[in-house]
């Protein structure tokens, strides 16, 4: 059986590569560097189960992308990744439909568990 598909959206190569290292052996990954690219990939890959989405990106912010993506793909599990956790942002992300919130620098096991939990549910 093919590995479940996970989409990683972060403008920083280092973060994308880190997530690839952690998740690459367990999931089939698609890596993009902007919210617009994520939307483009999602339109062609209906089998993507989970999206890991960076909150702070230069063009469209992660929260704006989250809102737009959730509108089009309400079933998609979206986990936000951030360098700065604030109660307001976490609450806003939850309100907009994010199902997880991971703070950088993250532990490999933390990423694996969160993605696994969301793919399973």
């Amino acid at each position: 059986m093919a590995n479940p598909k996970v989409l990683i959206c972060d403008d920083e190569e280092g973060i994308r590569e880190s997530l690839k290292l952690i998740l690459g052996d367990h999931y089939s990954l698609v890596l993009v560097d902007s919210g617009d690219m994520a939307l483009e990939v999602l339109s062609h890959n209906k089998d993507i189960k989970v999206l890991l989405l960076d909150i702070k990106m230069p063009q469209t912010s992660g929260l704006d992308s989250l809102q737009e993506i959730k509108k089009k793909y309400p079933q998609l599990k979206i986990i936000m990744v951030t360098g700065y956790k604030s109660v307001e942002t976490a609450a806003e992300a939850a309100r907009l439909g994010a199902c997880g919130y991971i703070v950088k620098p993250f532990k490999s096991v933390e990423i694996l568990e969160t993605v696994k939990k969301n793919i399973g549910s």
Partner: protein
């Protein structure tokens, strides 16, 4: 002068002087602008009422009645808009709709569809008559707006406690008194022959509103409003004194000796000039005691404390912005370092991993190093080492550094300097860095070419040099424009977001100012003011 005309004059003086003060002092704060426009609208009714009350023929009376009604139409709209800020309520749709309705009534007014006629009433003045059906709808909406504003205030009162509850209550009471006064102006039009004395209450409405704003402690308005209040009280007091004195002296001179109107006016004006300063101090003292329950000396101490509190809160805000930016900028490179280190023991024989590890970790460490350097520059420019420098030569040297980039991006450079040999006291290294940050941004905003314009000229009173730098690049989104000087704010793929905040700090430390304007797709313009 009829009492109605006098009430109009008072409204005009009190509300316009308050409006002008607020607009001059804080033109960039949106809520304050609404408040100023609200005062102008009240003042416009005042002007209309004054001229209407003094009109000698129906044609001019009707004209001024209509002019005054422009204010009447706008007053509840602006009050409702201001209330949304005051009561911290967001409802953009409703605000747009009430503005559109207001526009409809304004058009109807100009087209003569609201109040078609005036008639002579109360044996003294012309007043509007035969209101149309549209006018009745307008009057109804006018009252609905008031009740809607009250309903908003009431809801807030219910969920508020303590001091905040009291403040909203004050707002409630003051607007009620003002509106009751306003409503009496509508009654004669509907056949209820009550002289519109209530118009006097409208004159005190802006003052009462000012009191509420003071009570509400809107920080940036507080001190300004205090001054406006004192001056408007002063102007009102002097105008009334002047009018009464001239009227009394006119009668006296007329009865007793040979009557000369100009002489009495000159005498009164000279007297007023003499008493102006002591009167101002007396009113200031009185207003301070009434509104702040403090003497001028205590007020000065409170103001100083207030300024320190504002400065402290600004510092705290900068630190908070800095901390959140730092968290993002450092945690991002730390993440791959942590992940790669975690994975290293199990991937020692994976050559591809090791190569990638080496490349990425090096890049991320450089990034942290670069960030630390920029942070130091951000923290360092405390006191500039000032010396007399030819600023235009310095601009030329800065442009030389960017020459290759300008050519590579096919950018047309236009410079125009007033007085090329002017020397000004600056720290050349710091100003060069400040200019570099702006110029680099301008170049980056024009990847496919464009124009970069640098102009310099003197401020009108010749004590400042203005350096204007503009580009024809992609421009900045209006919602981002207010954040461009915040540390770590960036929309670039590879920026730390410190460049413009460093520029801002440098210019500020030179006792200068920097402003930015931008339009998406059209370009961005920076204006730097440096003292000569």
């Amino acid at each position: 002068m009829t009492p109605f005309a006098l009430s109009g004059l008072l409204i005009l003086i009190t509300s316009w002087s308050l409006g002008v003060f607020v607009l001059i002092k804080t033109p960039n704060i949106f809520a304050n602008r609404i408040w100023a426009y609200f005062n102008f609208a009240i003042g416009l009714w005042g002007l209309g009422a004054y001229k209407l009350g003094s009109a000698h023929d129906p044609q001019s009376a009707l004209l001024w009645f209509k002019i005054g009604h422009i204010g009447v139409i706008i007053i509840p709209i602006l009050l409702l808009h201001f209330s949304h800020y005051f009561l911290e309520i967001k409802n953009k749709k409703l605000i747009t709709i009430i503005y559109l309705i207001g526009l409809f009534f304004l058009i109807s007014l100009v087209a003569g569809k609201l109040v078609p006629n005036v008639k002579f009433m109360f044996n003294s003045l012309y007043f509007g008559t035969s209101p149309s059906n549209i006018y009745s709808i307008f009057f109804l909406l006018w009252i609905i707006y008031i009740f809607y504003t009250y309903q908003l205030a009431y809801k807030k009162i219910k969920i508020s406690t303590g001091e905040k509850r009291n403040k909203i209550r004050y707002f409630f009471i003051s607007s009620t008194i003002g509106y009751i006064g306003g409503i009496t102006n509508f009654l004669p039009m509907y056949g209820i022959n009550l002289y519109p004395y209530g118009n006097f209450l409208v004159a005190f409405f802006p003052i009462m509103m000012t009191f509420v704003i003071l009570k509400y402690n809107i920080m940036d308005l507080n001190i300004i409003i205090r001054k406006s209040l004192i001056y408007s009280l002063l102007v009102t007091f002097i105008t009334i004194t002047f009018l009464i004195s001239v009227l009394v002296s006119e009668r006296l001179f007329h009865q007793v000796i040979h009557y000369q109107n100009l002489t009495s006016t000159i005498i009164m004006a000279s007297l007023i000039a003499l008493i102006f300063t002591p009167l101002k101090n007396w009113i200031q003292d009185l207003a301070d005691r009434a509104f702040f329950k403090a003497t001028p000396m205590e007020m000065a101490q409170q103001n100083e404390q207030f300024r320190q509190e504002i400065a402290q809160s600004e510092r705290m805000k900068s630190i908070a912005i800095l901390a959140s930016g730092m968290a993002h900028e450092i945690k991002n490179p730390l993440t791959p370092i942590k992940t790669f280190s975690e994975q290293l023991p199990s991937r020692l024989n994976d050559k591809e991993f090791l190569l990638k590890f080496s490349r990425i970790i090096n890049k991320e460490v450089d990034r942290i190093d670069n960030l630390v350097q920029e942070l130091l520059s951000f923290a360092k420019p405390s006191t500039p080492k000032l010396k007399r420098v030819n600023i235009h030569q310095l601009i030329g040297q800065t442009l030389d550094l960017l020459n290759n980039e300008i050519i590579r991006h096919k950018i047309r450079l236009n410079t125009s300097f007033e007085n090329k040999n002017i020397l000004i006291r600056i720290d050349p290294q710091q100003i060069k860095q400040a200019l570099l940050n702006i110029l680099l941004n301008a170049i980056e905003a024009m990847p496919d070419g464009g124009s970069l314009n640098i102009d310099s000229y003197f401020h009108s009173n010749n004590n400042k040099l203005i350096i204007a730098i503009s580009d024809t690049g992609c421009g900045i989104d209006p919602k981002d424009l207010t954040h461009i000087f915040d540390p770590f704010f960036t929309k670039k793929d590879h920026g730390t977001g410190l460049g413009l905040s460093i520029t801002y700090e440098i210019i500020k430390n030179h006792q200068g100012k920097i402003f930015a304007e931008s339009e998406l797709g059209r370009g961005t313009a920076f204006k730097i003011e440096l003292p000569i």
